[in-house]
């Protein structure tokens, strides 16, 4: 028996309404277009998945997160984040740019288009997963923003809004310093693997996964992949990232996944792939060595960890 998937059923209804709307007026059409279900609005080029990675389930990825702005617990942010208002969401672009401006996430999607990237994701705590992200490479955005010759680094900042993020409202009792800041060297930021995600598994990002827009740097530990972006700045000097401020002995600026360099508390040689009770070897640069090792030629990765 053929059952029309719910999404398609909804889409057909929408199409019929659009036809009816066309008879009335063009404002009616644009109104209906604006109401188009969110999930359907994500059309993207699927990843060819040359590495043949099998993704973790949607349920696993959306129920096991680090999002300290909500809680240090892995599952608590799921409940705590459901009232987060992620539309409209403006991202501010400033610093050493020829075109300083503020853009809404939907504008960015319309401008750069969407593609899928199935990436390994490795947390410094020793767990890992495989995520089918949807978004666009950061270099497309940087090309558009047109940094000046002074721009050597890109600095990313998460939204600071204590009304939205309970841990930010705790002031001096908060678990870490806010707003959360991350940074990349310009050549890392412009690398084709560096990705701005707005969705996952064909849907828009859920709040706990860093909605509505986040960074994904697959060869670095997860904490570099900053969530819920508020600001992107091109800057002259290396930004001080949050975890480096928090504990400089344990977290550096680069945070490249490196099985040969141990974290002072957690062994990095192996990892727990979510859902598995056995462990697997961690790969240098999280399996992206061929693509990114050249960025660090001549650098002592024990010193620049």
């Amino acid at each position: 028996m053929n059952i029309t998937p719910e999404a398609l059923f909804e889409a057909r209804r929408h199409f019929l309404k659009l036809g009816a709307g066309a008879l009335v007026s063009s404002t009616a059409i644009s109104q209906l277009l604006a109401e188009l279900p969110k999930d359907l609005s994500l059309s993207f080029t699927p990843d060819a998945n040359l590495l043949k990675l099998s993704s973790n389930t949607f349920e696993q990825i959306t129920n096991y997160v680090n999002f300290y702005e909500f809680s240090t617990d892995k599952t608590a942010p799921v409940k705590l984040s459901q009232n987060m208002k992620t539309t409209p969401w403006n991202v501010n672009f400033s610093g050493e740019l020829k075109t300083k401006q503020t853009l809404e996430v939907d504008d960015l999607i319309a401008r750069f288009g969407l593609e899928e990237r199935i990436y390994r994701f490795r947390c410094v705590e020793g767990w890992s997963m495989v995520v089918p992200w949807i978004g666009f490479p950061l270099y497309k955005l940087l090309d558009y923003l047109d940094p000046t010759s002074k721009a050597k680094y890109v600095k990313f900042t998460t939204r600071h809004d204590p009304a939205m993020f309970p841990d930010q409202a705790k002031g001096i009792f908060s678990s870490i310093n806010y707003p959360y800041v991350e940074g990349l060297r310009m050549d890392e930021a412009r690398h084709p693997l560096t990705f701005i995600a707005v969705g996952m598994y064909g849907k828009r990002l859920l709040p706990q996964n860093g909605a509505p827009i986040r960074l994904v740097v697959p060869w670095k530990y997860g904490f570099k992949s900053i969530k819920s972006l508020d600001k992107i700045e091109c800057v002259e000097n290396e930004p001080l990232n949050t975890w480096q401020v928090q504990n400089p002995k344990e977290y550096g600026f680069y945070a490249n996944v490196n099985p040969a360099v141990d974290h002072p508390r957690w062994t990095q040689a192996k990892e727990r792939l979510l859902g598995k009770i056995t462990k697997q070897e961690t790969l240098p640069f999280n399996g992206y060595e061929k693509e990114v090792a050249g960025l660090y030629a001549g650098m002592d990765l024990r010193k620049f960890f």
Binding site: T72, D73, W127, I277, K279
Partner: protein, 178 residues
């Protein structure tokens, strides 16, 4: 009553066993269940003698059972480290563990509990009971271990430290009063 206490204390393990299949990070889940279980039981093992001093209730007959249950949880916790986390790779276990304070602090706490469990039976206990005050040290080390194991200590870690400080503080207070 003792049997009820044992069944109650082992309940979390039954739950862990049946939720293992659906756990997102199964190794971490058993680590947490056994680690939190060991610490809570260790704290609880200090309660009977405090209770006797503070409110006259004599629960001392449960103290050994609670202590042994705490040891059982600690043993499972260490087993997760050796079997699931390190997959019996003893070279790595020793090399890496010696470099990581939070692991050897936990290991020292476990050795103390092991010695106490071995000397908890009648004959030996008569001889070794005076050394069983080492449980205070084991508790302090276990609390430090749980604190260090987190990327950032949270509400649970601060709460158990508070309870630990109250229970140990009461002993210091009694001891100083003479």
């Amino acid at each position: 009553m003792k049997a009820f206490l044992i069944l109650l204390a082992l309940l979390p393990l039954v739950v862990a066993y049946y939720t293992l299949d659906n756990a997102i990070d199964p190794i971490k889940m058993i680590y947490n269940t056994t680690g939190i279980g060991a610490i809570l039981l260790l704290l609880l093992s200090l309660v009977p003698s405090t209770c006797k001093r503070v409110c006259g209730l004599n629960w001392l007959r449960y103290r050994k059972t609670i202590g042994l249950l705490a040891f059982a949880y600690a043993l499972l916790h260490v087993s997760v480290f050796v079997i699931l986390d390190s997959e019996f790779d003893f070279v790595t276990i020793f090399e890496k563990s010696l470099k990581k304070p939070f692991i050897y602090v936990g290991a020292i706490a476990f050795v103390i509990l092991l010695l106490m469990a071995l000397t908890s039976f009648k004959k030996l206990f008569a001889k070794f009971s005076k050394y069983h005050k080492a449980v205070y040290l084991a508790l302090a080390l276990a609390l430090l271990h749980s604190f260090w194991a987190q990327k950032v200590a949270g509400v649970f870690e601060y709460s158990v430290v508070t309870v630990g400080v109250v229970l140990l503080g009461e002993r210091v207070w009694v001891w100083r009063k003479g």
